[in-house]
Each structure stands twice: as C-alpha cells, then as structure tokens.
C-alpha cells in the first residue's frame, strides 16, 4: 500500500515535470543533425542527377513521381550552383521545408544560358531517419545573364551527397550503403583525440569512438577535395564537422572534427571507403582562438 502511494506521487511528479515530455537539447540536436544530413544528401542527389550524365558520377534514381516536375528544368544542364538554402521545421512532426535558391547553366542553340531558381522541398523524415520528398514547390524561375559556374558539375554534387550521407551514417542512420573494405582488406580508421590514438577497422574504431561521442549530431562546416586519382576514381576528401552531444557517461562534449577520407566512387551507387584519418581540433568557440602574442 505504501509503495503504491509513493508510486502514484512519483507518477504525478513525472506527469507534471515538463522534462519528461520535452525532448532534451541533445535529442533535438540528434534529430536536427540527422534530418539535415539525410535531407541535404537527397537534395545533392536531386541536383546532381539533373546535370548531363558523365562516365564516372552516377546518382540514385529520383522517384518517378517527380518526373513531370523535373521535366520543367532546362535541358542540357552543365552546372548548378546552389546560392542559398533555408531550413525550417514545420509544425507537423518530423516535417521540414528546405528552400533552395540556385543558378542553373545550360546550353541552348550553342549558347550558354543561366536561369535563377527558387524551390521549396517539403520533407518528411521517417523513424529510420530516411528523408522523403513530400512536395516540391517552384517559387520562381528567372532567366539571367549567363554566368560562368566553375566546378559545379556532377562530381561536385556526388562528393556532397556522399559527405552528408556519411555524417548521417556516423549519427546512426543506416539507410545508405557504404562498402567498408577493399577486397579482403578492411578500411583502416585512425582516430586521434588528444593523447589517445585508436587505430583499427572502420567498425572497430567507430565502436571505440562511441564512448567519446555517444549521443549527438555532426554538422558539416567545411569540405574540400584534396586529391583525385583519375585512374582508380579514388578521391581524398577533407571535411570538418562540428559535433555536440553527450559521451558514454552523459557528460556534454563539443568537438571540431577533421576527417580525411579516401573513398572510391563506384558507378553502382556504392561508396567504397578505403581509409579514414580523424583528429579533433580546437573548437571555434571564440574569435581570439588561435591568437598569438
């Protein structure tokens, strides 16, 4: 009887306490980061696949329901530059509005043409963090003066599609296929966190990494292609991501993560990760960080 009374009091307390119902800051961060990364990867696939096909960079098929909408884009697209993005969380649970402004280069009658686009993608992110496009709204399309857009072809979008999908994978999203080996050799993952250095297969290092970065989200801050081996189609990417969350004993952690990733982009939509080197840098928490006197 006594236990029953205590239980009722506790349950009343739990019901009254907003903490039990409201997601914690870290839960919000996880949802934000995984949603952002999966949506951004889908967006990169959307735009990359609009560009005239080449031999090396293939993209996943976009759902047929968007064929009609996509047929309205100009033909012969050579480059696309995303000039601005805006992400808004909608009232409906797990729904987002991703507004994208872009410049699209295409050829018409042997001339380079550019058009300006503003589109809104409405996403629903499911329980497995897969991002599904629910609607696309074409806001504006304007013809513009021809602008030279350098380096914004299929490869540019392929690299970004991979990077966002990879960060989502690090945060536990399993939807994407990564091949984590080269033949019989597993991909090597070296991780340096302060005085700790961990080296192992990708999966074993990720498992150890989990104790430092247990629950949180990666947000991409910087991305550069360091080298391309044209023959083997192996690309070395350097990315910098910010991570906020909790470690395995629920202490808050902030990390500025630098990863150098060697990845083979294969034609069959499979990303073969060959090697990863990761180190954690001084986080940019104040403008004077890195100042010397």
């Amino acid at each position: 009887m006594k236990i029953k009374s205590i239980l009722i009091i506790i349950l009343c307390f739990v019901g009254a306490a907003p903490i039990s119902a409201a997601p914690t800051e870290v839960e919000q961060r996880v949802e934000y980061a995984t949603s952002l990364n999966t949506m951004a990867s889908t967006i990169m696939n959307w735009y990359g696949s609009l560009i005239e096909p080449d031999q090396k960079n293939s993209f996943a098929d976009v759902d047929k329901q968007w064929d009609e909408y996509r047929s309205l884009y100009p033909r012969g697209i050579s480059q696309i530059q995303i000039t601005s993005t805006d992400l808004i969380k909608l009232e409906q649970a797990h729904s987002y509005q991703f507004t994208v402004e872009s410049l699209i280069n295409y050829g018409a009658n042997g001339q380079l043409m550019t058009s300006k686009h503003r589109e809104q993608f409405i996403f629903h992110v499911d329980l497995f963090s897969e991002a599904h496009i629910e609607a696309v709204i074409r806001d504006t399309v304007k013809e513009s003066q021809a602008v030279e857009l350098q380096g914004k072809g299929r490869f540019y979008y392929k690299i970004r599609q991979f990077s966002y999908a990879w960060l989502a994978y690090l945060d536990g999203v399993e939807g994407r296929e990564f091949e984590l080996s080269q033949g019989h050799e597993p991909a090597l993952y070296t991780l340096k966190i302060g005085s700790k250095e961990i080296q192992g297969t990708l999966l074993s290092t990720l498992a150890e990494r989990q104790q430092f970065l247990a629950k949180g989200g990666h947000v991409l801050r910087q991305l550069e292609v360091r080298s391309i081996d044209e023959k083997s189609n192996i690309v070395t990417i350097e990315l910098i991501a910010e991570w906020k969350g909790l470690n395995h004993i629920a202490k808050p952690v902030l990390a500025k993560i630098q990863q150098e990733i060697k990845v083979k982009m294969s034609d069959d939509q499979l990303w073969q990760i060959r090697a990863i080197k990761e180190q954690h840098l001084l986080p940019d928490i104040a403008p004077w960080i890195g100042l010397l006197c």
Binding site: I3, V253, A286, G290
Partner: protein, 214 residues
C-alpha cells in the same frame, strides 16, 4: 511488481534529470589536452594525472616574455585572489614554458614566485614541451625565425650570458605564442578556453562550477 515499477520510474526520472543537468554544464572539448609528463619547479617529474581531483588553469609562455606573459600572470593572480582559501586548495594555476632551454625549473620558480608562490611552473625537455603544446593545440614560434628584430624588445627578466659572444648569438630567445587559458576539470578534461579578456567574475564562476562538480 509494484516495487519493480517503482525502481524503473525512479531510474527514468534520475537519468532524465542527469541529462538535463549535464546539458547546462561546460562541455568537454574533445581532443584538447590529455595526459603529459613535465618537470615541476623543484625538478621533479610530474604528470597531468598527478593533479587529479584539482581544477587546473593552464597557460603557455616564457619568462623572457616582455608583454603578454607578465600580464597573463597578473590576471591569473587577480583571478586566484577572488577565490576563497578552500577554493584555492581545490585548484592549481599552471604556467608551461615554451622556452625550456632557458626556463629551467629554478628559473621558472623565481619568475612565478613574483606573482604567487602557489602557482606551478612546468618545464621539461624540448620534446616534452612540444608534446604538451601539441596536445593543447597551442602554438609558439621563435621571433627570429619570423625575421622580427628582437634586440630592442624590453625583457622582464633579462637573460644572463657568460660572455658577450653568447649574448650576440642569442637571437632565438623571444617567441610569439598562444594566449589561450585552458580550464581543466578534476578528471583532466579541458572544459573551457578563456583569455585575459574574460571578465574575472565569469572565469571564477566557471572555476567554481568545476570545483563543485561531482
């Protein structure tokens, strides 16, 4: 059955309260700092873990520094003075030299002593110092390497030379270096990065938060 339900409910509440509390505290800055070995002012080898259970503030500099180091140590002295005696016992101020060749433990002790005898000066071999600097992702450069004329820069503790020749050859004893102050918790994790522009009351607040942390 009721007992089990009671235990589960209790664990649920405690874990949620812990997460909420954790989110309010200073985050661990991943990859900044870690275990190291150095020489203290008594010439005894110490490790970071020797100070486990104490909150630490670590600064980098060197005794020949004419500008920021005396200013930083003056700032740390004021900061330390704002803490109660009990709080002072729960924390240590550390000054790691970037010029171990000149800043021997004895020299460091004399220099630090001008500011506060409780402060800890750390020196060591060049390799040890370079390792600590790399762990904290700090930086230092010899001004002579950067082709900055150094002969007219005022020195707080003038370097003494055995002869004139050595004095003339000494073109490498002034440095530029990071000004960051690293706030380390009782377990050795870096929890905040500050500088001499941080208001004293803000910095002492953070030190107290770490002292009182379970």
């Amino acid at each position: 059955m009721l007992k089990k339900l009671l235990i589960i409910t209790f664990i649920f509440i405690v874990s949620h309260l812990n997460i909420a509390r954790a989110e309010d505290s200073l985050p661990i800055l991943s990859g900044v700092g870690g275990e190291f070995t150095a020489m203290n002012a008594d010439g005894i080898e110490v490790e970071l873990s020797s100070f486990a259970g104490k909150v630490l503030v670590i600064a980098f500099g060197y005794t020949n520094c004419a500008d920021i180091c005396p200013f930083t140590l003056g700032y740390l002295k004021r900061l330390y003075g704002e803490l109660s005696v009990e709080e002072q016992q729960m924390m240590r101020m550390m000054f790691v030299t970037v010029d171990p060749e000149y800043d021997t433990p004895e020299h460091l002790k004399a220099f630090i002593g001008h500011f506060n005898k409780d402060f800890i000066g750390l020196s060591g071999t060049q390799e040890q110092i370079d390792y600590i600097v790399s762990l904290y992702q700090a930086e230092y450069n010899r001004l002579s390497v950067l082709n900055i004329p150094t002969q007219n820069i005022r020195r707080v503790t003038p370097k003494l030379f055995a002869d004139e020749k050595s004095a003339k050859e000494d073109s490498a004893s002034l440095y530029s270096h990071s000004v960051t102050l690293y706030l380390i918790d009782k377990e050795g994790y870096t929890r905040s990065l500050e500088y001499t522009g941080t208001p004293i009351e803000v910095f002492t607040g953070k030190i107290r938060q770490l002292i009182n942390e379970q």
